[in-house]
């Protein structure tokens, strides 16, 4: 497994506040990303996707956010054992992140070019001038004329801002790119452009990608592997083929049921009923049980572990799915 660039083991993150008590945002999540691989992390709003991403970079909001268990290993080294100074060298240079909302992710008072060159200058031993030249190149690479280097975020459209954010994240050719819903804030036309661009750049730079999204279409286009996350837990993980063609977990099935399908004649979508449980008050047993149509008594009492349902790494956290497998 020497190709494993990032290995998250048993990661749990809680938010503690006096008003709402303890929010269990991420519960015992384990994930591996291989070099050059694209892993999709799919789940509803509030499932804990962004918290996982921030947990990798050790940027969970302080003092509310607390990592209560688990390790995050980057090339086999535990990031949580590193000093703050060592962490700063990793952030941006080795692991960089594209943030969800381009409208707020850029500092409104700095020219966009400077925001990119700040990153380059921090990590590479070059003069500010050279960093600026490189930042201008990055802008060109994402399709923004270098002449706009000195312009401010408010002079750009949302799509262009997102491209600036992407240019920033890729400026130091990171080994791992975490993209937190890079296309959610964008129009569909721009979405395709941005995804294309990210794919192109990825190939050029050989970067691994952790793509956080709730858009299964984007996952199908971009990812090699997919992890479905629900209420802070991974409920199903496997190759994109496993997830799309051999869906096992009722929640994953529900996600697909919520998508309009051009080929079928059914007029109604099949949304998943109910809401995700409150992370401050998670149910005992399977977290999805209250919304699951196959829920049995055992589901409400005890939770299934992530269990392999095929020899090539398709894991599911569901009694029924695992039993079906055993029965066949």
């Amino acid at each position: 497994m020497s190709d494993t660039i990032l290995s998250i083991k048993d990661l749990s993150i809680q938010y503690v506040s006096r008003e709402i008590g303890t929010c269990r945002a991420v519960n015992n999540v384990s994930l591996d990303i291989q070099k050059g691989e694209n892993l999709g992390l799919v789940g509803e709003t509030g499932a804990g996707k962004t918290t996982i991403a921030l947990g990798i970079l050790r940027l969970t909001p302080k003092p509310q956010g607390r990592v209560t268990s688990g390790t995050v290993e980057f090339w086999g080294e535990d990031l949580y054992k590193k000093s703050e100074a060592e962490m700063r060298k990793i952030r941006g240079e080795k692991i960089s992140m594209i943030f969800q909302d381009p409208m707020t992710a850029l500092n409104p008072i700095d020219p966009v070019g400077d925001q990119i060159s700040e990153m380059i200058w921090l990590h590479e031993k070059i003069t500010k001038k050279e960093a600026a030249a490189k930042a201008a190149n990055m802008l060109e690479m994402v399709g923004i004329p270098a002449a706009r280097y000195k312009e401010y975020p408010h002079q750009f459209s949302g799509g262009m801002k997102q491209r600036v954010v992407i240019a920033m994240a890729l400026a130091c050719s990171p080994e791992l790119l975490i993209a937190d819903e890079p296309t959610t804030a964008l129009d569909v036309t721009i979405q395709a452009q941005v995804l294309d661009m990210m794919n192109g750049l990825k190939k050029e730079l050989g970067t691994s990608l952790l793509l956080i999204t709730h858009d299964l279409g984007v996952v199908a286009e971009m990812c090699d592997k997919v992890a479905i996350i629900y209420a802070g837990e991974i409920v199903e993980v496997g190759t994109t083929r496993h997830i799309f063609k051999d869906t096992r977990h009722p929640y994953t099935k529900g996600l697909f049921g919520s998508l309009p399908d051009m080929n079928s004649h059914s007029k109604r979508l099949k949304p998943i009923h109910g809401l995700m449980p409150d992370p401050a008050n998670l149910p005992q047993g399977c977290k999805f049980a209250p919304r699951c149509e196959f829920c049995t008594e055992r589901c409400t009492k005890q939770e299934q572990e992530l269990t392999a349902v095929s020899p090539d790494g398709h894991l599911v956290r569901c009694w029924r799915a695992v039993e079906e497998e055993g029965g066949v």
Partner: protein, 325 residues
Amino acid sequence: MWRYIAKRLLSMIPVLIGVSFIIFTLLYFTPGDPASMVLGEQASEEAKNEWREEYGLNDSFWTQYFRYIKDIVTKGDFGDSYRNGRSVTSSLIDRFPTTFLLAVCTCVVAMLVGVVLGIVAANHQNSWIDAIARVFGMIGISMPMFWFALLLIMFFAVKLQWFPVSGFYGPRYVVLPAIALGLTHAASLMRITRSSVLDCIRQDYVRTARAKGQTEGVITRHHILRNALIPIVTAAGTSFGIALGGAMIMEQIFAIPGLGRLMVDGINQRDYPIVRGAVMLLALSFSLVNLAVDMLYAYIDPRIKAQYQGASRKKQKTEAEEVQA
């Protein structure tokens, strides 16, 4: 940008005219007789009347007001003091540097203590440092300024004898009044800084900066503070404007010959030209400070700068169209 400044300067004219009218009216209707203040209560009614006639106080309200404005506009003359016949302009010019110095020192103290404490408190929200800062803020705002000044005098001037008790003959005389005034301003500045910085700390771009691997120092100084600066600059500007008007109480306590005392003496002695002049100067400096604050906004925030430029650019465009037509 220059167009914007010019526009703002022009718009001060109606403000100043308004202020002059209000202060003139107020003083006109204020009870008390300048003639008896100057000549003494025992002076004969005839002498008083003659004096009033000489200073034009027997004319109608409008005549007096327009004469006042006319003298200012045509001769730059704010009148002469009833008391000693000195021109108001030269009295103001005498007093202004003292008040200006005190105002600058006050602001420096207020900014140093208030802004630094506010940032530290915000960075350690809900810690003991924050608690101390908040208590300081509450005390600073609710404690009477004159009382605090008297405590300072008692301790540092009388007991320790580090600084002189009162008067104004050199830099050492500025220290205590500047601290007394500065700390009261610092308290409110601290509260504004704290909340403004707290707002910015949670912004996404701060997280972006961290994700870039930027150091905490630069994040606080550049990414957080520069974004938090607008309310701070506003508050500091107001503080400076108030201090420029002459801290009447402070100048009284420390016997500082500044604008504040000039004004208080003027009011006591019904020396109307002095009071009017001082108020006009105050209004002018307040307007100028406000303009400076607005200019600082543009320097801090490119979005505001774009607005200023956009406004004048739009105007240029319409003017160009008019020329074409």
